[in-house]
Symmetry: none
Subunit: 219 residues, 4 copies
DNA sequence: GATGAATGAGCCTTCATTCAT
DNA sequence: AATGAATGAAGGCTCATTCAT
């Protein structure tokens, strides 16, 4: 777990700042940077608009801070795992951890998608600090390991991208699938199933024939 | 197919209308409904703002018309396939056709994602007229057919959703992956690979070992 | 009556022009010059907006022409009477004739009021060509004739103004009184009564006890 | 009387609001609701347009508030008089009080006329809350009292309407009569004369035969 | 530190007017 | 003579942002 004991008593100002960020995340996720109204964020945070401007110099910077606040835990996660062991097990655990984090902040996935679709100014930062390192490392690992048809080296980017689609996309497109299937993709059960689904896919791609006794029965 | 020979000479007005729709699709895809500036759309279409309002009563209705124009071909596609044969081959062909259509209109995927993320007013229409019927049918077919572990019935929604992620998401997230991998996901090669990847996944899920002679060679 | 036999066959263009003027009068009366929409006038006249601009160079000039068209008969009326006999009988007849004309074009009274209230550009023209000559002559005549208390010379402008209020105001304020009294001031009966009321006022102000046999029967 | 001592120090916001209302009354009176430019009102009030919209949600509602602000004193006046004594004296005093109020706010008469002519949305409210009660009561009183020819019951609405014409119309048509007679109807002298004129008319209509020595010779 | 009040800039929309057919 | 198509110039209204208290 992360250090929860350090920040013992948050200042009143820190609380206000946090409330604003929380409110902003929701509004940005729902309406996008352009559609978001500062007034609405301030109202949702329970503060005056002028107060909001004491904490953040502009709507754009607030938006950026919201994104930063969202990736930071993911970066921590990645670093944690990148120093740990590799292999299918580790991959599965990373996927699980990411899914858990995204489930805790469903708005973040939407923010990332909005940023990507609109080619926002924070996109390249996102690519550089998280998606880039993670996906490239995963692709390398995929290539180091893959052997059997039908998978081959050229598929690496697609495969790792697929996991982004299945994780972030799961939360970003949740409203669509809720409408289509009548049940909420963000519910614990669905998230758990989606996580399991991704783990299954990993195992399907890397049969791990060498390790007897493990992961029997899948194809 | 539908009459393509009747509308030989489009009216000047029809051309203008089409130009506006085309321009609007691009702007909406890049900035979302809220962020889109009518002025920018008009400029991109090469018409005066007032002209735009001769053809469309409001920005919102223009947006809706753009979405309608995007789904209609997909609906046609679905109907065409729903009356044809079923099976893995057909599924693969549908995936291919959809990918081809999405590749031809990369903006449309973005529009769908934006609509889903922002829970726009057209989302339920999208769910009702296309995603709903298609995905539910696909899920049923998946369940009719699946047998072997690790796949089971409860996975059906996730699996069909996965194909949405891999197709629409491929185009919607293109800017991110371009940044990450340094090459353009919308390029013909990548689209072809992604299509093949999805077909591979289908075959992996439905091994079809029993039916000799059927569905041969579709890879 | 006025020459109706001269304009035997009006040109098609003349008819169009007349239709536009007629429509414009209604729209201007209801919404004022500023509030009037050229499109609405054209629609009411059953012509294209561009057509309207063939007949009238601008909305303002159309407005002015409408006003001109409205005063011209009144000017004729005044000239007719100014060359005729004077006296109470004549005054009563003029009032009756004016009321009849205003009743036939209830919109015109409104236009005059709108022009006066907004101090429109045609107001001084109205004052110079009609209200001025008529009211000043009437005031002079009032002074020539009045004798008995409580009326005295200084009241002349007020008295003649009163007749403007009671005639033009009757039609201009018709919507208010319709609302208040539940019956339509523009109806024939009410107009007749109002005319009679004004005649009574005239007689009250100028008792004419000396002239036996005069002013008989006009009540 | 109402508490005039309570609101000792008006808020800054209250002052701004009042400034806007004052400015709006002038602009609306001159140009009508349709012709009025919000920008012009704001400029006249010395505030930014956005500020205006903090106080009033729309131009229409501002207009309505201006009208309300104008009638309220008249309603107070009416209530005051309706609980007092009746008779010619009282009628004369009411007329005088109304004239005084209208003279203090000459724009209000114009607003009423514009609303009546354009059959605005506030007209029926005006009719219900002020003109209706007042005129109907006056008409009843007229009928209760009148006896002698040439006045008879059916004239009641016309007679009370006449007083509206002579009071409100006096101010609404002021620009016209200024142009015609070369002197300003809104000047104190003219207003005083017009008030006296109306009082004379009242006395003419109700000779008050009981009081010997008064108003001899008219009828 | 927080807020009520205010504003410049800009956005969606409409309007009077023109042009090509 | 008439019209469908198009436009420059506002107009009403909102928004991100600032200032005085």
């Amino acid at each position: 777990m992360l250090e929860k004991t350090e920040k013992v008593i948050p200042t009143r100002a820190e609380l206000t700042r946090e409330r604003i960020l929380e409110a902003a995340e929701g509004v940005f996720a729902r309406t996008g940077l352009n559609g978001a109204r500062v007034r609405e964020i301030a109202d949702a945070a329970g503060v005056n608009v002028a107060t909001l401007y004491i904490y953040f110099p502009s709507k754009n910077e607030l938006h950026e801070t919201v994104l930063e606040r969202g990736v930071r835990p993911l970066i921590d996660l990645m670093e944690e795992f990148s120093s740990g062991p590799r292999g299918i097990e580790a991959a599965g655990q990373l996927v699980g951890a990411v899914m858990k984090h995204l489930a805790a902040r469903p708005n973040f996935s939407r923010l990332v998608y909005l940023e990507a679709i609109s080619e926002g100014s924070y996109l390249s930062q996102l690519a550089r600090t998280w998606f880039g390192p993670l996906l490239n490392r995963a692709a390398r690992e995929f290539n180091d390991r893959t052997v059997s048809a039908p998978w081959d080296e050229s598929l690496a980017p697609l495969v790792v991208a697929a996991f982004v689609h299945l994780s972030f996309g799961h939360f970003a497109l949740a409203p669509l699938f809720r409408e289509v299937f009548g049940s909420n993709p963000i519910s614990e059960e669905w998230v758990a199933q989606q996580t399991k689904f991704m783990a299954t896919l990993i195992r399907q791609m890397f049969p791990e024939p060498a390790e007897p006794g493990a992961d029997r029965g899948n194809d």
